[in-house]
């Protein structure tokens, strides 16, 4: 992390010594504090006994096999829902982004060749569709995913639609939300492209649809790939909300298991660790992809077209754009 030094001078021997001593003292204090404030109370409650940990870590424990079998099943259910949701949201999100750009372009058209009535009708139609898509985006971006999922789960059957499996309610709930997020990521990617791209496409006589499909979308995907991968992490985390409608993903399984083994804290520690590992790997992948892309871009695109000023600290932060990721 060489760029760290932009904010401060490289520490000299004295500063390094102070840091070292300070760290050791602070570390010791933290250890003592942790012993009295964390270890002792937990130990008193018996949270470290093999009774509670055995089923999770001791292969000879009578529940070990069953327990991990169920955890594996639960995690598989989590991954299934997440994968389906990601694929479907990517498809729908791309379509929605294309539709919104297309509508925007159509709203500017005047339809000169057509009779006035038809032209007006067409324009009214595009404007209406434009508004509907905009409201759709605002509504589903502004709603908690939990609410969307519960809404789908309770609302669809009430309206007479039956999806059969709980999985589909969860997936649909996740897709509704992530579709608009992905659509917005792609749209901002397409709109952020240098205007020369679009003008050049117009100049060679491509239609709006062709411009979007052949010029803008491929570039937007490329630029936004890290943001899209980060969205994967969000979907995977949000799959855990399936427990609210009773979908047997890993957290739901956990809450069933603890009713037998009475080891809530231990189970959640393990499940939390699994989540962190998987999501961390995904984030790393996002960072790697970003790194590769950045290198590729720098080589070809020297002027950078309005590139951001050189960052003061840790450029890899930008690898995971805060906005789309955080709107989970």
């Amino acid at each position: 992390m060489s760029q760290q030094t932009i904010l401060y001078d490289a520490p000299g021997p004295r500063a390094r010594r102070i840091t070292l001593i300070g760290s050791i003292v602070a570390g010791a204090l933290i250890l003592v504090g942790a012993y009295f404030l964390v270890y002792r109370p937990l130990d008193k409650r018996g949270e470290f006994t093999m009774d509670k940990w055995g089923p999770l870590i001791d292969p000879n424990n009578e529940y070990f096999g069953q327990l991990w079998q169920r955890i594996a099943d639960g995690f598989q259910a989590t991954l299934t829902a997440a994968a389906l949701a990601v694929v479907a949201s990517l498809l729908c999100g791309t379509l929605l982004a294309m539709a919104r750009l297309q509508l925007k372009a159509m709203a500017r058209r005047r339809y000169v060749g057509l009779p006035t009535a038809a032209a007006l009708l067409l324009r009214a139609l595009t404007v209406a569709l434009d508004w509907i898509s905009r409201i759709f985006v605002e509504v589903f971006r502004g709603l908690p995913v939990v609410i969307t999922i519960v809404f789908v789960w309770l609302g669809l059957p009430a309206a007479g639609v039956d999806l059969g499996n709980l999985l589909w309610y969860l997936v649909l709930g996740l897709v509704l939300y992530n579709t608009v997020v992905i659509a917005e990521i792609l749209r901002s990617g397409m709109e952020g492209l240098p205007s020369g791209q679009r003008e050049a496409a117009d100049a060679v006589g491509l239609s709006t649809g062709q411009t979007i499909r052949m010029i803008l979308l491929p570039q937007a995907f490329r630029i936004m790939l890290p943001a899209l991968i980060s969205q994967l992490v969000v979907v995977l985390k949000d799959t855990s909300l399936g427990f609210i409608i009773g979908y047997e993903e890993i957290l739901r399984v956990t809450s069933q298991i603890v009713q037998f083994l009475n080891n809530q804290i231990q189970m959640y520690v393990v499940v939390g660790a699994i989540y962190i590992l998987v999501n961390y790997a995904l984030s790393k992948l996002a960072g790697y992809v970003q790194h590769r892309l950045a290198r590729g871009r720098r080589a070809r695109n020297l002027n950078g077209g309005g590139a951001a000023p050189e960052p003061a600290v840790a450029p890899e932060v930008a690898a995971v754009p805060a906005e789309p990721t955080d709107r989970a």
């Binding site: 009774d51 069953q66 079998q69 309770l154 809450s255 809530q264």
Partner: protein
């Protein structure tokens, strides 16, 4: 730790008993297998017997009644009752298909014909009778209150009326609706979680003063957490649990009622009870009178 070892033995015991119960059921289903029982053509019983499959809606998170076990199969009194019905239909118990039916969807799954019967701590009431029919009741539940062993300040639901005592139960449940009437200030007195285990933890930690739900569930927790909890006062509600089925299928309803009465007589009902919900209850349940409305 004592309590967990007990819980573990409890689990093991449950499995042994379940296995024993399975054995028994298998025997009887051999006697009355698909070949030997016959039903009038065109009835639901004949159809199910033909198909050799019974679709049962139950709960997967109700200790003692229907709780999905470590094996991934639901266990509990409701499950045993479903086995009794299946047995009568000449369907072996491994041919029962369990679907989770939380309280919110029970009527819906019956109306949409996604399950044949619902046995899911399903209180019989007139509002529900308008859209589905009930066989039974097979059990009369009563809500009670559990407190810490040394707490004598709570004696019954009325103790919550002064607005200081805090009580925990599970979300979207009848116990929650029942206790709410006794609370002076819901915001400061009521805590809701998705499972009872969390309520028990909160009671242990002192965040709440009491846990309320069906007395049998509470008895189970008192037994598995030795010397920590006790019941405060008597049960204060009566919830007759019935078996939900499609509205208007009177022949099927009569058949299930016959099955239940037979099980009351031949002891299989009591056996089912003792191996599941009644494990820690020294008293046998009051055998209910089937309501053939």
């Amino acid at each position: 730790m004592r309590t967990t070892r007990l819980a573990a033995t409890f689990g093991a015991l449950a499995m042994v008993l379940a296995a024993a119960a399975c054995g028994g059921d298998d025997d009887s289903s051999d006697e009355g297998g698909a070949g030997s029982v016959s039903f009038p053509a065109g009835t639901t019983m004949a159809k199910l017997n033909q198909a050799q499959k019974l679709r049962v809606g139950t709960k997967f998170d109700q200790p003692g009644f229907g709780l999905k076990g470590l094996s991934g199969k639901p266990e509990g009194f409701d499950v045993e009752i479903a086995k009794i019905v299946a047995d009568g239909l000449g369907i072996p118990e491994d041919k029962i298909e369990y679907t989770e039916t939380p309280s919110t969807v029970r009527e819906q799954v019956i109306q949409q014909d996604k399950v044949d019967i619902v046995v899911a701590t399903y209180t019989i009431n007139d509002k529900r009778k308008q859209v589905i029919d009930f066989a039974g009741p097979y059990y009369i539940a009563g809500q009670a209150i559990m407190v810490k062993k040394d707490d004598n300040s709570i004696t019954g639901p009325d103790s919550f009326k002064d607005g200081t005592k805090k009580v925990c139960t599970v979300t979207n449940s009848t116990p929650a609706a029942n206790i709410e009437q006794y609370l002076a200030n819901k915001d400061q007195q009521l805590v809701l979680f998705d499972i009872y285990q969390k309520c028990v933890d909160a009671l242990k930690g002192g965040q709440v003063d009491a846990v309320t739900t069906d007395n049998v569930i509470l008895t189970g927790f008192i037994a598995t957490n030795e010397d920590q909890f006790k019941l405060a006062g008597e049960t204060f509600t009566e919830e007759p649990y019935g078996i939900g089925l499609k509205k208007g299928d009177d022949k099927f309803r009569d058949f299930i009622n016959d099955q239940l009465e037979e099980s009351f007589q031949d002891g299989s009902y009591l056996e089912a009870w003792k191996s599941t919900a009644g494990k820690y209850d020294p008293n046998d349940p009051k055998i209910p009178t089937v309501d053939r409305y």
